[in-house]
């Protein structure tokens, strides 16, 4: 069935009792400018067809015109809720291509900010997920906790959302005085708050009814469609890039990886929620053992990596963020291809939505934790 923007299906496309509902780009629950065309039969969904591109900002083309260092702030704005991991993926790709060795302290700091970012991103997910399901209050609580993290980031690099903290060869600057103390305070207060939210929302009977058994994805489907992160782990596949293909300094830390069983919305949600506890553990280990040293390697002003290509991937809060970087030996990248996890997960949407009701589509989209910035680039 061809969907034209005019939104009228050709005769014969739909069964008699079906109709199309447009969950338009403007919608409180699509987490950005996502358009989903729902083919419904009363309240039952027959199909859900995503339509994207409303936030396409030509990142890849623009990156070809800027130098390698200049591209770093661009990567911030892709998955804007989790900017640190984006920058990390990109600078790791450049470092691999150019053969730059990153100092130890910088690697540890990278892990620190990546994990703080993970908690912040999962808090946003938690708040908006609750909001989608009708509970307005957890959102305010989640944002309140996230403010602590944003304050830490602001002290660290001056920005709350788009940091430009990573540099090719390290990070931009060292921790300001008082940072470690404030972070430890944050670590002390978070676990009890998380438990409170668990009791308030995750263990709520209505929440369980709305999410258990919804949007099932089997492990085979998840792998076949390129799912990653909590979306993949919710289906029972125990794969986490931080543990299985360690980068930065992740191989030095002990942490658990929550894995679900049935691949429904509930399992994905619980995986994501539990990851926050694990991130707190990692941050504590980082603070306990942070080595001294430089935070930045010496990198030439005009960086010209040798011709070649590389694919690096990191575990962002959403899943596998991959950067395929091609260099032609010049100061500007020849090709930067961004592999966004939400893009791959969107392909799972019709698979997950089949047979459920209209009210479930909101829960399903929420469980994928989609950010249109990285889908559309």
């Amino acid at each position: 069935m061809t969907i034209t923007p005019e939104f009228r299906p050709a005769p014969g496309d739909l069964e008699e009792h079906e109709f199309l509902v447009n969950m338009g780009p403007q919608h409180p629950s699509t987490h950005g400018v996502l358009r989903v065309i729902l083919r419904v039969d009363g309240e039952r969904l027959v199909d859900a067809i995503p339509d994207i591109g409303f936030l396409h900002r030509c990142f890849e083309k623009v990156a070809e015109g800027w130098t390698y260092q200049q591209v770093v702030p661009l990567t911030d704005r892709l998955d804007y809720v989790s900017a640190m991991t984006n920058e990390l993926a990109y600078v790791m790709a450049v470092e691999k291509l150019a053969g730059i060795e990153v100092p130890e302290r910088a690697q540890w700091l990278r892990v620190l900010v990546a994990e703080l970012q993970r908690i912040a991103s999962h808090l946003v997910w938690f708040g908006t997920f609750a909001l989608d399901l009708g509970a307005t209050t957890p959102f305010l609580y989640a944002i309140r906790e996230r403010e602590h993290i944003l304050d830490l980031f602001e002290a660290l690099c001056g920005a709350r959302l788009t940091y430009s903290y990573m540099r090719i060869g390290g990070v931009r600057g060292d921790l300001p005085p008082g940072f470690v103390g404030k972070t430890r305070e944050f670590l002390k207060l978070m676990p009890s708050r998380l438990r409170e939210y668990e009791n308030l929302f995750m263990k709520n009977r209505i929440f369980e009814n709305r999410t258990k058994g919804i949007g099932r994805v089997t492990a085979e489907e998840a792998v076949a469609y390129g799912a990653s992160g909590p979306t993949l782990r919710g289906s029972g596949v125990d794969w986490d890039l931080r543990r299985d293909e360690p980068y930065a300094a992740y191989d030095r830390f002990e942490f658990g990886v929550p894995v679900g069983q049935s691949g429904d919305v509930y399992d994905r949600a619980v995986c994501r929620f539990k990851e926050m506890y694990e991130s707190l553990k990692i941050i504590e280990q980082v603070l306990d053992g942070l080595p001294e040293g430089d935070v930045r390697a010496k990198v030439p002003r005009v960086l010209k990596p040798p011709a070649g290509d590389v694919y690096t991937r990191v575990e962002s809060p959403r899943g596998e963020v991959g950067v395929y970087l091609v260099s032609d030996g010049g100061p500007k990248p020849y090709r930067v291809k961004w592999r966004a996890p939400s893009f791959a997960h969107l392909r799972l949407l019709p698979v997950m939505a089949k047979g459920h009701m209209v009210a479930d589509i909101v829960a399903i989209i929420g469980s994928i934790d989609i950010i249109l910035g990285e889908v559309d680039r």
Binding site: V21, A135, T137, D360
Partner: protein, 345 residues
């Protein structure tokens, strides 16, 4: 003071009634006039309280969510916020979608407000302060409460928008399904008090509030109340985060204001009914009956708001399942047990 004022007003009323009964024409005019006075009083009561309720909801939800709520419009705690919002709504453009069924679209807000006002007819705010002490009060209530379904369907269908329609259908299914357990739960109270008149029910609670002897009935009634009020956890017809305002998506300006006000007027009305049936209405020592009534009603409203801001939303099929498979049997059991008790005593 209040006793004197009541006696004075009663004296005035009796005098005017005496003058009017001299001729059929004047008598009819008097009845009409008195009816209009009652309507104006009720309307005034509704409007003032709705303004307060909207403000209260925003403040209360703010506090629950660890924020402040309105603070600026009206220096202490933004008490004039609702008034400002109403003025803003009145100033908006009146948009009627081109494909809308104009008659239905226009009438729906009026119907919903009327339906809500109908409930106030049997709300007793004092021993004699009731618009009309029908001796079939509870039956009348059950009928009047069903009216909102019609207006929801009118709004949903008349808006000629798929999202409105979905919301309206969900809302209609929910409202209709929860009428039954609600009325059955109230039947328990009727059995205990032996009368359908609301004022008589209040008077019969002078020794014991019915909440204490009808706990299950009350819980059933409470659940059904949320469905009738269209509030989370049962706010499917509106479902902000899914249907973006459900059956009243296409409404703007004054028409939307009507829906909005009707929602809070309904909240007030049904809370008053709940207090009347289960918490002893205007009964209470020391304070005047009206004050007791208001205190209890607002206390109940706070409870309703509290639940709203804590729980997530239930899905429509789960809602219907809950209504038919859990609430209805519970209400029936409650009725049976109450009946046996009444029979034996």
């Amino acid at each position: 003071m209040p006793a004197d004022l009541g006696a004075f007003l009663q004296g005035v009323f009796d005098q005017v009634h005496l003058w009017a009964s001299q001729s059929p024409f004047w008598s009819a005019l008097f009845t009409l006039g008195w009816g209009i006075v009652k309507v104006v009083l009720v309307l005034g009561f509704i409007i003032v309280n709705v303004l307060v309720l909207v403000w209260l909801e925003r403040k209360f939800s703010g506090r629950v969510q660890s924020r402040l709520g309105p603070m600026r419009v009206g220096r202490p705690h933004g008490w004039a916020q609702t008034i400002a919002d109403m003025i803003k709504l009145l100033g908006k453009e009146d948009i009627v979608p081109r494909a809308a069924d104009k008659a239905l679209f226009v009438i729906a807000p009026v119907v919903i407000f009327t339906a809500t006002m109908l409930v106030y007819v049997v709300v007793p705010m004092g021993p004699r302060a009731i618009v009309s002490d029908l001796n079939i009060g509870v039956l009348y209530l059950a009928a009047a409460a069903s009216f909102t379904v019609i207006s929801v369907l009118m709004a949903g269908w008349g808006s000629s928008s798929k999202w409105s329609l979905l919301g309206a259908l969900r809302g209609a299914a929910m409202l209709v399904s929860y009428e039954v357990p609600m009325v059955l739960a109230v039947m328990g109270v009727v059995l205990l008090s032996g009368t359908l008149s609301t004022n008589a029910i209040v008077k019969s609670q002078s020794g014991l509030w019915y909440i204490l002897v009808q706990p299950i009935g009350f819980l059933v009634f409470l659940a059904a109340l949320f469905a009738e009020l269209n509030r989370v956890p049962f706010d499917l017809a509106e479902a902000e985060s899914e249907l973006v305002s459900g059956f009243n998506i296409e409404y703007s300006g004054l028409r939307f204001a009507f829906f909005f006000l009707a929602e809070y007027a309904n909240l007030l009305a049904l809370s008053a009914i709940a207090v009347t049936l289960y918490f002893g209405g205007w009964q209470g020592p020391f304070l005047p009956p009206f004050v007791w009534f208001m205190l209890k009603t607002y206390g109940f409203i706070i409870l309703v708001m509290w639940i709203r801001w804590t729980l997530p939303r239930v899905r429509v099929d789960q809602l219907l399942e809950f209504g038919w498979k859990v609430l209805l049997p519970a209400a029936l059991v409650n009725l049976a047990v109450t009946g046996v008790y009444v029979l034996l005593t």
